[in-house]
Symmetry: C2
Subunit: 233 residues, 2 copies
């Protein structure tokens, strides 16, 4: 594992393992080889490997247990973001799924914050469910510079997984703002609250590995069926 391109070795290793998890070569619960053995196989120092593993632990896809081993933890798919920001039922928990309503490439509307390099963006509208119950509607704007064309069929349940696997786009940081808004008129009837009704709104800005804002989104959620949870540390 030489220092070929530009990324530090520990980051290359970290991303290598994330890709292995995403591709299924490493599944939830699997135990990694001992650090010394692993480091030897990769041809790097133990300390370097440990830095990569610490990174994965921070991302929430690895659990490190002293005296025991390193274990893959990839329950709710690999989406590490949702380990921090997630929708859940008022009583806690709930299995999140997503249904793509539409995907359209179009000019960025003026009411969006400035982001990306293209004047156009892909607008993705989704209905999000928790254990089958419609819980939120969301509108995502992905800068058009990352893909020329996107179809609803190719989008997986996890957008971030799709970004990573198909577009090579990694969301590194995200910032959410919560306020109050009105349910948009395109919300399907299955979503309980009617258009115009008051609903909490989450506005997200996601930054890619290059530091640029690649995606902005707005989510309106049904406060009787869902809570938005943010966790620190």
């Amino acid at each position: 594992m030489p220092r070929t391109g530009s990324l530090p070795i520990y980051q290359q290793i970290s991303e290598l393992i994330v890709r292995d998890v995403a591709s299924g070569r490493l599944a939830d619960g699997m135990k990694l080889a001992p650090e010394r053995e692993m480091a030897a196989e990769l041809g790097i120092a133990v300390g370097t490997l440990r830095k990569a593993l610490a990174d994965l632990e921070e991302k929430g896809i690895l659990e490190r247990v002293q005296g025991s081993g390193n274990y893959i933890r990839a329950k709710a798919d690999v989406d590490s973001l949702y380990a921090f920001f997630r929708l859940e039922r008022p009583e806690g928990g709930g299995l999140p799924t997503a249904e793509v309503l539409s995907v359209t490439r179009m000019e960025k509307p003026a009411d969006l914050p400035a982001f990306g390099t293209s004047p156009e963006a892909h607008r993705i509208r989704r209905l999000r469910r928790l254990s089958g119950e419609p819980a939120a509607v969301e509108e995502i704007w992905l800068d058009a510079s990352y893909a020329t064309r996107i179809t609803a069929e190719e989008l997986s349940e996890s957008l971030y997984l799709y970004y990573r696997r198909t577009l090579g786009l990694w969301v590194q940081r995200a910032e959410d703002r919560i306020g109050l808004g009105e349910v948009p008129d395109w919300a399907p009837a299955a979503f309980g609250p009617r258009p115009g009704a008051a609903a909490p709104v989450i506005e997200r800005q996601s930054r890619a590995q290059d530091g640029r804002v690649a995606e902005v989104s707005r989510s309106w959620f049904d406060w009787e069926k869902a809570r938005y949870v943010a966790r620190l540390k």
Copy 2:
């Protein structure tokens, strides 16, 4: 800096610096001595110091700049929690302050989630402002096991600073749930929204160093004057 008690050296150093910031010996913007110099003074290895500094950076109270130096970043006091979860004005920014409305020791009401070891808790009600403008009202329940008596006078602007300095209580983790609720009837007139009006609600559970939930709180905010911001990574 020997390995006296039980805590690792790098954690001891990290907390030492946090205390220095909290006490004012280290102020916002100050530049620390070079790592090698600092490590020599403390009698530890550079790598160990670097781990402590990395910890502080994660907490948001230190900025590390390659080729330049390490700088204290303690804008909105030392409250590292608000570096991740914070209220700000819709257009961004705003200086947060807090006015204590009342402090009462009483039985925990039944509608609170179970927490702490005591049947009683201190109920603290505050009016929070952003650059002087009332932005939120909040009700905090601190388990009575941490203090026998609390007066409004002794509470500082930052509750977490008070917890740390006076009670020896460190908030290690926090989880926020955001939903929709009604402004409580005790909200002062200065807070724009009238009691009963719809407002976004933040329900927080804070865990102390012992892993127990020490405090739960509810905040209602004026969505025209404030946004709740959560940042990841």
